[in-house]
Symmetry: C2
Subunit: 329 residues, 2 copies
């Protein structure tokens, strides 16, 4: 099987899990469920759930039914959180995007108020799915106490705490606010300093990296770390996964910046040169294209070295990293 | 001490707990933390956390330090969720309110994009606070397994599952969507049928009650039920709390409708006749003022009877119900 076939197969399995927990489109709040499902069904490669699953399987290739229920809840939850963030990002008060993957965005299709409420609902539902799954863990088998179930419940609660931290005000949302406050645009009105914009604070490389770490990395970190925690990784292994996922997130964003400059629309499936058009500060703008490429290369190598330190069958994850980081430029 | 003094004292203690977990206003996403804190510090009587605490204490008047940490997380979380719902409700695409309790609403003070993000952050933080607190439960005391800690962890996870359910697409958000789809306005353009509005579906009493059950009751139910679960209530006791909190929520909303017609602005501290001005369908509009009063009276009595079936010291809760349900009309 080629990598593309393996990827497609995995996306399909994840979609099966994801679709199984979508709400029924019925009752007096039918339109809410339609808007939520519309947002999820708009597609995507499901990279984040895939990272949860693949990292989990490094540590625990064979799960019990009970473990699988909780794992599947985390897979679905991370995609719900990612999707809610896109739905809210697209709102008129935010990026004001009317199209995503060639289809009307949620607020374009269902109205602005529903865009806000559907995003809120997806976010809340993510935590509902996880906590209900954890609540279903049975600590007693025929009235005998099960230490392994208890250990798994503790791990799942820790993973949930990490999850909410990475998606909230100290993670993804923090990144969005830094983006909004600092980097939206740079001025091109003939000023000597092309990054000067009276309405925005001036960004430098450390702040840009802090923005990337939160806006892009945080959910990728949440994915790999929650997979590792659920899989029972040791403290040392978690530390490797932590460093690895941070580097992966950063590399992923820098590659995205490079692609926007050097990629072609047919190959990457979205408009190129959008950063330049939007006068958006990126790593390429601040550090230069050659440095960006060197940085992406170095980070990719570090990711692969860190991956080698982890146990389990890593061949697909390695290919997935290469796919995420070396895409067509 | 008068009831008003007791209420004030409790609000103050809850504020101490709440303020202790507010984010520091520092770093590159400072504005986000300011907006979040602004929304929380805007005040309120903290009825929902008070219901968590008072219900909990019916069942478990003396807590261990560990239990208190988790309890306090739930107190704070319910107020964060209530506050996020107000912040998003006030947005231009929703109710477009510029003032709340005499102060600019969050989006009026910080901009629309920040209103969206601060709401998202408060919601996510609610789950972060709860799950971190549950994750801190130590199941082993000097390496000895503690069944009571484990039982408490299980209860806390169940309470969190209920919490997210009641605030999400099958609870509060469902109610908001029904409100949006059905009841926003009735036409007053001389039509014989004063409830006819071409842009909205016609509402009847069952749908209105479903809307109240979700939009208003759901968070009150979440408060009392999570308090009871954390306090270790039995199945039968939970069933009483469930019925009680539903009736309380419904009575609370109907009293609010009555007050809007018959109250005075000085006494209730907010503008009256707003429903009529907004041509909003309410229980008073659909059932008539006399039936509304009878219904409120009956529900209040049922609440007090159900409360009597619960254990513990109930005198403050009784006064609180009377305060919530018999306010100045």
């Amino acid at each position: 099987m080629t990598f593309q076939e393996k990827l497609l197969q995995r996306t399909k399995s994840i979609n099966d899990i994801l679709y199984a927990c979508l709400p029924e489109e019925t009752g007096n709040a039918k339109s809410l469920y339609e808007a939520c499902n519309y947002s999820i069904l708009a597609g995507g490669k499901r990279i984040r759930p895939m990272l949860v699953l693949e990292t989990y399987q490094l540590f625990l290739p064979n799960s019990s039914d009970e473990q699988r229920v909780v794992l599947h809840a985390f897979l679905s939850a991370i995609e719900f959180i990612h999707t809610y963030s896109l739905v809210h990002d697209d709102l008129p008060a935010m990026d004001n995007d009317m199209l995503r993957r060639g289809k009307p965005t949620t607020h374009a299709a269902y109205g602005e108020a529903m865009g806000i409420l559907a995003g809120d609902a997806l976010l809340t539902y993510a935590f509902e799915i996880i906590s209900s799954a954890i609540a279903s863990i049975d600590l007693f088998d025929n009235k005998n106490y099960q230490p392994s179930s208890e250990k798994f419940m503790q791990a799942a609660v820790r993973a949930m705490a990490l999850f909410s931290n990475k998606s909230g005000m100290y993670g993804m949302i923090k990144g969005q606010v830094i983006d909004m406050e600092y980097t939206e645009t740079y001025s091109s009105t003939g000023s000597d300093n092309k990054y000067e914009d009276s309405s925005k604070k001036k960004i430098d490389l450390p702040v840009l990296l802090e923005m990337y770490e939160n806006k892009t990395s945080a959910l990728l970190e949440a994915s790999m770390l929650s997979g590792a925690i659920l899989g029972g990784a040791t403290k040392d292994e978690l530390s490797v996964v932590d460093r690895l996922s941070r580097k992966l997130g950063l590399a992923f964003q820098i590659c995205d910046d490079i692609l926007d400059v050097e990629g072609s629309e047919e190959k990457i499936g979205k408009p190129v040169h959008s950063d330049d058009k939007n006068k958006k500060n990126t790593y390429v703008v601040l550090a230069g294209i050659e440095n960006a490429k060197k940085m992406a290369e170095a980070l990719t190598n570090e990711c692969l070295e860190l991956l080698d330190q982890l146990p389990g069958e890593k061949s697909f994850l390695k290919e997935l990293f290469m796919f995420l980081l070396k895409r067509e430029y």
